[in-house]
């Protein structure tokens, strides 16, 4: 696992503008991502914390699953943007997905109650409505704005 810090233009190391973590393709990486976010942000309320971290969990799990599906050893990257418009950005190096179709399907179709899977994206978007994706055949980047949930610590 790699952790990198970037500072502002003044080079002041006490003012980090971003933190980047390269996570191994392991399930426990989800806990690492949450732990770093918990320590880097001050959540406004316990409900805000739970809601945001649930969405983060779903997004990170999807990224890890994508790497596993393609047998990629490359890490999943989590970037914490701590400056203006703070956010958590999760990037995988998978093969992307049809964003429009996937989001439309998620909106129209809820998995049946006996289904054990298929709810992750719906849950993530419900808890962080401003969750956005950029995706192409080289990978997917999910951005979770922390506005309304937390402020940089």
């Amino acid at each position: 696992m790699t952790v990198e810090f970037e500072t502002d233009a003044a080079g002041d190391h006490t003012e980090r503008s971003s933190v980047r973590i390269d996570l191994p393709v392991e399930t426990f990486s989800v806990a690492i991502a949450r732990s770093v976010v918990r320590r880097s942000f001050q959540f406004l309320t316990p409900e805000a914390e739970s809601s945001f971290l649930i969405a983060l969990t779903e997004v990170v799990v999807n990224a890890i699953d994508e790497h596993r599906r393609l047998s990629l050893d490359d890490p999943v990257t989590v970037m914490l943007q701590l400056g203006d418009e703070p956010s958590v950005i999760v990037t995988d190096r998978g093969s992307g997905f049809d964003l429009k179709r996937t989001l439309a399907t998620a909106e129209r179709h809820t998995p049946g109650p006996e289904s054990e899977a298929g709810r992750g994206l719906t849950i993530a978007r419900a808890f962080v409505p401003r969750l956005s994706f950029e995706t192409d055949q080289t990978g997917t980047t999910a951005t979770l704005p922390t506005g309304g949930f937390a402020e940089p610590a």
Partner: protein
């Protein structure tokens, strides 16, 4: 703000209620994809035949879609053995995830806070 990740804590209480075998599973901490195998292992050893099973999620700080899958599996087992499941929640995010996942009725979710408010109102006449 919590300053540590909450591992899963699962407490199982066995008893009898009006002649029925009652099982109460109290879950605390982060109930997520990492902890689901442990949850499955613990509940997999329970005898659920004809049981009134209560899963208390009131003190869970995080529930993800993998945890919901574990609850779906558990419910299936309980029903196959002629038992009943009740899922207790107390926090707004817990209610939200149950509703948006379409599992509120399927898991027989009860909002503990709403139930206690109703009881107070009724008691007050």
């Amino acid at each position: 703000m919590t300053d540590h990740d909450d591992l899963l804590d699962v407490v199982v209480r066995l008893g009898r209620t009006q002649g029925h075998h009652a099982v109460r599973i109290e879950v605390r901490g982060d109930f997520d994809v990492i902890q689901v195998p442990r949850f499955d292992s613990i509940v997999g050893g329970l005898v659920l035949d004809g049981a009134e099973l209560t899963v208390d999620l009131c003190n869970v700080g995080l529930i993800d879609s993998a945890a919901l899958g574990a609850l779906v599996r558990l419910r299936r087992r309980v029903v196959e053995r002629d038992g009943q499941l009740v899922t207790l929640v107390a926090r707004p995010f817990q209610l939200t995830i149950m509703r948006i996942s379409g599992l509120f009725d399927h898991l027989n979710v009860v909002d503990v806070d709403a139930e206690s408010s109703t009881s107070v109102d009724e008691a007050g006449g």
